[in-house]
Amino acid sequence: MIITLDLNGKEETLDIDPSLRLIHLLRNTFGLLGTKEGCLHGHCGYCLVFLNDQLVLSCLTPAFSTHRGKVVTIEGFRGTPEYYDIEKGFLEVQYTPCGFCASARVLLTHAILQETLHPTEQMIRKRFTAILCRCTDPSRLVAGVQRAAAIRRHRQHAV
């Protein structure tokens, strides 16, 4: 079937197998390797991407469901001012997730900051249960997200 989608700001039209998963479209067709393949069953959360501004598990999302939609992966997000808020926040508190779950954590942080610029510790801890990885020390994760929120608040005020 033929689909058209906005992928990281660029319109793409292609013929796909209806059974194709979004993660495989991203990784194998477009070479967008920042989205990592984990369990393929929606369990680990490594494959999060934005579809129409909502975070989705790309392993459980059929590629055809992106037709006429807008997909943003870490490759599309990493050049934005919103990304730099998060990068700066994480670096300032020396929060370094592993390369396997980092993209998902950055995108999830962005989703949280879109909801509120004052995320509580409890909220952050709860929301990050969506990503299962042994790499993260929770206290620096919390500090990193809260620092990113402060940076974004400051930037938005400045604007």
Binding site: T73, I86, G99, F100, S103, L132, R134, D137
Partner: protein
């Protein structure tokens, strides 16, 4: 502080792993696995295969057909007697992994089924040990000090208990996998794999294909993943399969386990049973300890002696005890091989010991603090292993620091009164309020491999004419911070800017063999060797550039340890920890919530406190997972499939921010390991807290609510 450019790369999603190597021309590998736990293969019936699919069998292996670990021989492909569900029988190689999966399912394996044992086959007390038991027994050690029999006869009080610990899944980020690049012109095998022991991969591939050393090269992806110890030896197994496929097809190969396949068939933490019997004098002092440690290591007991020695050693590391009898046994079973895991051996024994000592003090009616203070080993009241150096005794500040920080004595006394009140007034069990408990445990971690005498460890540091410094080591760093520590050491020692220091990518053809990256060897041995290389290089600077420093592990300490008598010093250093955990328990669901964790730690010289805290916090999460959440079990040799979907590791919402205090170490020059400390103390502290809160003693982990009802 980590190298910011590296961390930015991670956050921007630019890290590359084996699965990210895209090579459309590469062929794929699928393993045909055994479907029964024990049996002889009588025959194989193959469906018609397309001509482009290659079947690889054991007889096709041109060189050594097994991986050896001491007496243990693991067949790379097993067409004779399979010993666990999932054991590889043969390989299918072709362009489409889904087609290979379908073809694999069509191959019929004819078995003669044999009896299968899954548990440790224990004889009842007084019963003669059966032949079956003897066949499953792989290794046995008995260590004795003093006269335990006489000491039990003279004891005022004797207590006996049994404890057990379960399997644990490694849950590393990327499942096992390898990419092998085939170059027609060079006829070399370039293997890309995540492994904590690159030279072992190299050796196994070389031997299995009967190739000269120089025709194989192993490269490790530059980005650290959290593979922990799950990628210690098993990647050699995976690489051998991938390299075999590449060698026989003359094509590049991509080979990646699915997460489910990885979960079902790869090594886990070895489960244990520890039986303890203690004899006390009139003042509650430990006079004699008898213990039996039993491990189920599955079909192929890799590192069994290391596991057992660490477990035995841990039982005698904390407390003074003049009379001791420990029997340790490792059994094989028809389960996938259990492997190395952080806290290997020590975590299982220290869980048993520290829950047992809590039961002892409860029987005596004294506080944990009082009992521990009375029994901790000191130079005047030595522990059984005969070490006399100061650093081999628990530092006195360890207990005091954690007690003060947590207000333990007051909290424990209060909650003990509540527990007794509930015991005397059972109707209060229906109270809707939370139940609370607080527990304490001590522990230690030895740095280095007991087997270090058998494993080379070499590091090289070079400086070029334009003062660029390169570090050559095959040690695989588990974090960017560790890489940064190594760069800082070289930069400060050699007086060059940090940006002029590089860590060479790990390729076995061009780097030094630094041995396995396990048991905190990176932070202890490798860091020390880098320091020594830099000193050597510095001394040679007057002679001009280029210059180099090369240092190898000095195995003297390994030689000072006697594995049979347990006398001497087995480790380069020992680090110490005390932990207090406070919990709240929902009386209806019995689900606990951890409220506070305090730890005091003596780990010698701390090179980067933030990184040390991170390491401890990761260890706490892993320990809490093992104690409360991570249930793995086998039914007739197989993990039930729903377990995979329900397996849950510790998440940020399960943990509070821990209070961690690093003590000013008496041994402040020595860098010691700390990666295993949390695994060695948190499970017992947490279970002691839960037992107090529930008013019921828990002796098995992972704790399951249904057992408590």
């Amino acid at each position: 502080m980590e190298d910011l450019s590296e961390v930015r790369k991670v956050l921007q999603g630019k890290s590359t792993f084996v699965g990210d190597i895209l090579d459309p021309k590469a062929l794929w590998v699928k393993v045909k696995r055994a479907t029964i736990p024990h049996g002889r293969i009588q025959g194989l019936v193959f469906p018609p295969f397309p001509p482009y699919v290659r079947i690889i069998r054991s007889k096709d292996i041109p060189g050594k057909r097994t991986i050896s670990f001491g007496k243990v021989e693991i067949p790379l492909l097993n067409e004779s007697e399979v010993r666990y569900v999932g054991e590889p029988i043969l390989l299918l190689v072709g362009p489409d992994p889904e087609e290979l999966e379908k073809l694999s399912q069509q191959i019929v394996v004819l078995y003669e089924e044999l009896p299968a044992n899954f548990e440790i086959p224990l004889a009842e007390e007084g019963q003669k040990e059966s032949l079956y038991l003897k066949e499953s027994l792989y290794l046995e050690k008995t260590i004795q000090r003093g006269n335990p029999k006489e000491a039990f006869e003279q004891s005022h009080r004797i207590l006996e208990r049994e404890y057990s610990t379960g399997f644990q899944e490694h849950y590393y980020s990327e499942p096992h996998g390898a990419y092998v690049h085939w170059d027609d012109e060079e006829t070399t095998l370039d293997i890309h794999i995540a492994s904590r022991w690159p030279f072992h991969v190299h050796r196994v591939v070389k031997e299995s294909l009967a190739l000269p050393w120089e025709l194989v090269s192993v490269s490790i992806p530059p980005d650290p993943d959290t593979s922990l110890d799950g990628k210690l030896w098993y990647p050699s197994f995976v690489s051998a399969h991938a390299a075999l496929a590449a060698w026989l097809t003359r094509r590049s190969i991509k080979y990646l386990y699915s997460r489910q396949e990885d979960f079902l068939f790869t090594p886990k933490r070895a489960p244990s049973t520890v039986r303890m019997k203690a004899g006390l004098d009139g003042e509650g002092r430990l006079q004699v300890l008898e213990a039996e440690i039993l491990f189920n290591m599955g079909a192929y007991p890799v590192f069994a002696e290391e596991l057992l020695d660490r477990a035995i050693y841990a039982l005698g590391v904390l407390y003074s005890c003049p009379h001791l009898h420990i029997r340790g046994r490792v059994f094989t079973s028809c389960l996938p091989p259990a492997g190395a895991f952080s806290g290997m051996g020590g975590s299982q024994s220290l869980f048993a010991l520290e829950v047992f000592t809590d039961e002892i003090r409860q029987e005596l009616g004294v506080s944990p603090t009082e009992w521990k203070t009375r029994n901790l080993a000191t130079k005047q009241r030595p522990k059984p292993w005969g070490a006399h150096r100061k650093q081999f005794f628990p530092p006195s500040a360890l207990l005091e620091t954690v007690l003060q920080a947590s207000d333990f004595e007051r909290r424990h006394a209060t909650l003990e009164l509540l527990r007794k009140h509930r015991e005397q007034n059972p109707e209060s069990f229906t109270s809707p309020e939370f139940w609370e408990g607080i527990g304490i445990a001590l522990g230690a971690q030895g740095s280095g491999f007991f087997l270090d005498r058998e494993h080379r460890s070499k590091v090289e540091v070079r400086m070029t004419k334009d003062k660029k410094v390169s570090i050559h080591t095959s040690a695989v760093p588990g974090s960017y911070a560790l890489k940064s520590i190594w760069k800082t050491i070289a930069s400060e020692s050699l007086g060059v800017h940090p940006s002029s220091v590089f860590i060479e990518p790990i390729r076995t053809r061009s780097t030094q063999d630094s041995g396995p990256s396990i048991f905190s060897r990176n932070i202890t041995l490798t860091t020390k060797l880098i320091e020594q290389c830099c000193s050597q290089l510095k001394k040679s600077l007057p002679a001009g550039l280029p210059a180099q420093g090369v240092k190898s592990l000095d195995p003297r300490y390994a030689r000072s340890w006697n594995r049979e008598t347990f006398l001497g010093n087995p480790f380069t250093a020992i680090s110490w920890a005390a932990a207090v955990v406070e919990v709240k328990i929902d009386p209806l669901s019995l689900v606990p919530q951890i409220e506070h964790v305090w730890m005091s730690i003596d780990a010698g010289r701390i090179l980067d406190e933030k990184e040390a805290r991170r390491t401890i916090e990761l260890g706490i999460a892993q320990a809490v997972g093992w104690t409360l959440l991570e249930h793995v079990f086998y039914v007739e040799g197989s993990i039930p499939h729903p377990l995979f979907w329900n397996y849950r590791i510790c998440s940020p919402s399960d943990l509070p921010t821990p209070h961690i205090e690093f003590l000013p170490s008496e041994d402040h020059k020595n860098v010691k390991g700390l990666g295993e400390l949390a695994l060695n103390v948190i499970p017992a502290a947490l279970i002691n807290a839960l037992s107090q809160g529930l008013g019921k003693r828990i002796r098995a982990i992972p704790k399951r609510e249904e057992v408590l009802l």
